[in-house]
């Protein structure tokens, strides 16, 4: 699915340069659930931006879904982002003036899908995430968890090869965060490749593989033998709530 080798990224801000990534090699197979952790400034977001084709590496190669993308132009990047990658952001990044439905339609719009089909698929996606009665709400009329679910529906709309989520639970309380994690786990069970960045170990424990970054380098790559199950945790929380 993803194969990067000796990928590096150096930001130059006027007088001095910041090496954000210092040569990272990595492979992610289809169907994996990977969490990237590390201290603030260790290069996690930089890495995600490169994987998501939002940015270009300073050096190294990147093979996405069997295709070397190192030498593609902006238009091809845009098209690959559209078809292969679904982004989920910490800040949701929904368009505030569009309804949930329209927001979900957006990525399909750029895929050239006809309005009728877009509408149908957006409704399906939102229904799947339990938002069937929030289709015509604007982001400011929805809770954080609901907004993030809209964002996930949008990321999934074009049936991407991979979901890239940078701190998707960062702006949510722990229970809502768990709800989002259970969605990712559910998606992953059905075969979607998920890569998420988090600095919360607890969140990372829901993945099946944890990559640890420090100072622009990959310092650990561990399998999670017994991932936490967000659905069970939520169940337990609810029972505790009911007892109290």
């Amino acid at each position: 699915m993803i194969k990067i080798s000796k990928l590096s990224k150096t930001y130059s801000t006027g007088t001095f340069t910041v090496p954000a990534l210092k040569g990272i090699s990595l492979e992610i197979e289809p169907g994996e659930f990977v969490a990237i952790t590390g201290a603030s400034g260790s290069g996690k977001s930089t890495m995600m931006n490169l994987l998501g084709l939002l940015d270009r590496p300073s050096a190294g190669s990147y093979i996405l879904d069997g295709m070397d993308v190192s030498n593609l132009d902006d238009n091809e990047y845009a098209s690959l982002r559209n078809r292969k990658i679904g982004f989920v952001f910490q800040a949701f990044n929904l368009l505030p003036r569009l309804t949930a439905l329209k927001n979900v339609e957006l990525s399909m719009l750029y895929a050239g899908i006809k309005l009728e089909e877009r509408r149908k698929r957006a409704v399906e996606g939102l229904t799947l995430l339990g938002l069937e009665d929030r289709l015509h709400h604007f982001p400011n009329e929805l809770s954080g968890g609901q907004n993030q679910r809209v964002a996930i529906a949008r990321a999934l709309a074009n049936q991407p090869a991979i979901i890239l989520a940078d701190e998707p639970t960062g702006a949510l309380d722990s229970q809502t965060g768990l709800e989002i994690m259970s969605i990712f786990q559910e998606l992953n069970r059905h075969g979607t490749t998920v890569v998420l960045v988090t600095h919360e170990l607890n969140i990372a424990q829901h993945s099946r593989r944890i990559l640890r970054m420090a100072d622009g380098l990959l310092v650990a790559d561990e399998e999670v033998t017994h991932p936490l199950d967000a659905r069970e945790e939520l169940q337990a929380l609810r029972e505790k709530g009911a007892e109290a």
């Binding site: 931006n49 998501g52 939002l54 940015d55 902006d74 238009n75 845009a78 098209s79 982002r81 559209n82 078809r83 982004f87 952001f89 800040a91 990044n93 929904l94 368009l95 003036r97 569009l98 329209k102 957006l106 990525s107 719009l109 750029y110 895929a111 050239g112 309005l115 949008r154 074009n158």
Partner: protein
């Protein structure tokens, strides 16, 4: 992504911020409204002027004495015999009549009034397309028999005799009297040519009254519009020869007058239209200004769209279309307001509002062009954004 979809996106975005959209396009609204109103009023006024002038007959021409420095008035500059000579020798001349002006106090049974009395002959009625309200105009035999008659216009008739048919009644002119034989319909012209109150009497009668055989002007009409030029020039030549006075006469035609009036009103419309056009330009700069602000404000939106797969071209076109749609919207509102303005002025001035299809097409095209031109720079700026930078902005 096809253009239709992008138009929808643009409309969506315009709708989502109605107040700002309206304020953005206000300059275009005002500019287009001004252009439409000015051109509409101008064209209406011109059409009005032309129909008014046509009422006099487009075949009309006149011959005057052209007094130059040091020349003094001579009583025999135009003589009654000139008329028959001209008519015999110039087949293009259909009618020709003498015109002598004199201010005279007229008194009737109900009142009195000093009016412009025109001494002329029967053909004058044909030359000036005069219509009778009552009775008849001067006839050829009136002069021959020396009848003491007068033809009034409606306003004068009312002034002298009150409403009703005054034919057969007597008008006192100083110590003389004349019988009313007819009343001319007063023209409702707004141009003022005919609004002056006038009365007509046979030229010979007027001469007898004033004891002065003078002709101020010859007025005639040609067989057709095309022959006016020839008719008046030949007539002028004959006058020059008969009076042995080269360059002593001046000829004018309604056709010439109309052409110059047409030119003047056309130039005026153009000049005022240009000024209105400048306001459109200012409006366009306003649109660009707000579009630039809007692009900056919507940086994050641009970043999100890019992350979702919008190509730079999609962003570019989206913003250009937004600008065009905004300006078109302003254009349409402007057309309605401008047309309303032209209609109002036309109604007050009693002339036809004339907003031609071409003016509207031009206005629509122009507002589109303004939208395109002033949208390109902001749109280009939007499309050049770096997706990560844009996403990071809040």
């Amino acid at each position: 992504m096809n253009i239709g979809e992008l138009v929808l996106v643009a409309i969506e975005s315009i709708k989502s911020n109605k107040l700002r959209s309206f304020l953005t396009t206000l300059g275009i609204v005002i500019g287009i409204a001004a252009v439409i109103a000015v051109v509409g009023i101008g064209q209406g006024g011109r059409a009005m002027l032309m129909t008014e002038m046509e009422k006099f007959g487009t075949n009309l021409f006149g011959l005057w004495v052209n007094y130059r420095d040091g020349e003094s008035f001579r009583i025999d500059d135009l003589s009654i015999n000139d008329i028959s000579v001209i008519k015999e020798n110039v087949p293009q001349v259909k009618y020709l009549a003498p015109v002598t002006y004199n201010q005279m106090p007229l008194r009737g049974s109900k009142g009195q009034k000093t009016v412009q009395v025109i001494g002329t002959t029967a053909e004058y009625a044909q030359i000036r397309n005069l219509e009778m309200a009552w009775g008849r105009f001067i006839r050829d035999d009136d002069a021959a028999v020396g009848r003491r008659i007068i033809v009034l216009d409606e306003k004068t008739a009312v002034k002298l005799f009150g409403p009703g048919n005054p034919v057969g009644k007597r008008v006192m002119i100083m110590s003389n009297s004349a019988v009313v034989v007819g009343v001319i319909k007063s023209d409702s012209s707004m141009l003022g040519f005919n609004s002056q109150q006038v009365a007509y009497m046979p030229w010979s009668f007027l001469c007898r009254l004033t004891d002065w055989k003078v002709i101020h002007e010859l007025q005639g009409s040609a067989e057709s519009k095309e022959e006016v030029e020839t008719a008046m020039n030949l007539a002028k030549k004959i006058l020059e020869r008969r009076h042995n006075a080269p360059n002593h006469y001046y000829a004018y035609s309604m056709e010439q007058e109309m052409q110059s009036a047409n030119k003047v009103t056309g130039i005026m419309t153009l000049v005022i239209g240009c000024i209105a056009g400048i306001s459109l330009l200012v409006g366009g700069i306003g649109v660009m200004n707000i579009m630039l602000v809007s692009v900056t404000e919507r940086t994050r939106e641009i970043g999100i769209r890019m992350a979702l797969g919008a190509r730079r071209k999609d962003i570019l076109i989206q913003f250009i279309i937004e600008s065009i749609v905004l300006c078109l919207l302003g254009g349409f509102i402007g057309i309605i307001i401008g047309y309303g303005g032209a209609l109002l002025v036309a109604k007050l001035a009693k002339w036809p509002p004339l907003v031609s299809v071409w003016t509207v097409v031009l206005a629509v095209g122009f507002s589109m062009a303004v939208g395109l031109f002033f949208g390109i720079y902001p749109a280009n700026k939007a499309s050049k954004m770096d997706p990560i930078e844009a996403l990071r902005r809040d």
